[in-house]
Amino acid sequence: MSTLIKTSLARKFAMALSGLFLVFFLLQHFTINLTSVFSEEVFNEFSHFMGNNPLVQFALQPVLIFGVIFHFVMGFVLEIQNRKARASKYASNNGAANSSWMSRNMIISGAVVLSFLGLHFYDFWIPEMNYKYVEVLPENPTRYFEEMVHKFESPVRVGLYVVSFGFLALHLLHGFSSSFQSLGANNKYTRAIKGFTTAFAIGIPLGFVFIALFHHLTAF
């Protein structure tokens, strides 16, 4: 068991598992956000539940934050280790001949997504923590929809969201299917897995973009 902690393969498993966990969270986040397009009440109900349920707040949320931090810290560690493994670079390297841009530039797409998370935390998570745990304001179960729509009034913010989700799609296009390979799944289902993960990698970020644009365009 101890060997599973410090080897290159252990790091690969850890990246795959934390990535899959974040993909699962992304789907859950998307599902709740999507309700905001159809019903203000349903969105408020979901948001109120997620924001006030002790299990979500004090068990799932810390796990999620740990998962995010672990995934990006490990990503940077792997990038540094991998760069060190070839100290002398090629004068001519045709990476496009044998691999996708997404697979070779996970650190770039990941860094953009991480920057976006900073903005997203600044927009929603920090005000939420401040509301509940610093200022300890009285809970209003109908405040969430208004707060969210207000954020999407700014075209600059919506633009940044759209660009970030583009990079999230690029990250997922390689990362999601790659996590199955890392965990040892390369078999007769691989084509189906690739099809599903590709649809997910494009569809979910596109859905988030749609939600942001929808609220931006209907806010006035």
Partner: protein, 248 residues
């Protein structure tokens, strides 16, 4: 064909290398890449210049000795061939061809285009074998039934010639494809199952100690592998490793 060759020249392992330019004329499209290099070296010797050192042996794609990173790809732009099987017809008159050694910290340059790939040997020594008593009482191979599907997969894995193109092509200089081919070759066969747990743990440990990078599943290794070793082998090694780690 008349070509311009830009070749990495490095006097020895400790020297600082650089790209040198050599024009070469009247190259036949029917020449193999190594024959073209032989012609160049004859010309260089005639001019009193040190010939370009490069690895080669069988010159029929079996031994795994030839290497070279040609125009940004291991074994050049062709698929499923080693450098010795690459023909000059793949290039056009007037082309400039950049030729570099396989680059990875674990594959230090010995001289010019020749690199030390003994890291692969050490990985192989760590577990890439089956301990079978061959002193006269070896069991008849046909006495052990093996599923055709598994036999084919094991054979495919066994076609790895250990050339190192996977490491050279990988942006992380990872050796996972090589190691996974060796692990798979035995893991699929009943003869290899006896030592399966130790084998995968020891070979991966040695791989890490040699300083190869981590695998990020870009798939470049599979594309550039002259023997078409599949990424399936890496997935199999991952399963073997996970299972062995939980046992050990």
């Amino acid at each position: 064909m008349n070509l311009t060759l830009k070749i990495w020249r490095q006097a020895n392992a400790d020297a600082t290398g650089s790209i040198e330019t050599y024009p070469i004329e009247n190259v036949s499209p029917d020449m193999s890449f190594l024959e073209m290099m032989d012609v160049l070296n004859e010309e260089l010797i005639g001019k009193g210049i040190d010939p370009v050192a490069f690895d080669h042996d069988c010159r029929e794609g079996i031994c795994g000795m030839c290497s070279m990173y040609i125009n940004g790809e291991a074994h050049g732009p062709d698929r499923l061939v080693t450098t010795c099987q690459l023909h000059m017809r793949k290039f056009k008159d007037g082309d400039t061809i950049t030729i570099e050694p396989f680059r990875a910290n674990a594959f230090p340059v010995v001289k010019d285009l020749a690199v030390d790939r003994s890291a692969f040997d050490r990985i192989q020594h760590a577990g890439g074998f089956v301990s079978v008593n061959t002193s006269g009482n070896t069991q008849d191979a046909n006495a052990i039934p093996i599923d055709k599907h598994d036999a084919d997969k094991a054979f495919d894995a066994a076609t790895c010639i250990g050339c190192g193109a996977c490491v050279a092509s990988c942006k992380n200089a990872s050796a996972m494809l090589f190691v996974s081919a060796k692990v798979s070759q035995y893991a699929l066969l009943p003869q290899g199952k006896v030592e399966a747990t130790d084998r995968v743990l020891n070979m991966v440990k040695q791989m890490d100690e040699e300083g190869f990078g981590n695998c990020t599943n870009t798939g470049a290794c599979e594309v550039e592998c002259p023997k078409g070793i599949s990424l399936e082998n890496i997935a199999r090694m991952n399963r073997e490793y996970l299972s062995a780690s939980l046992k050990g």
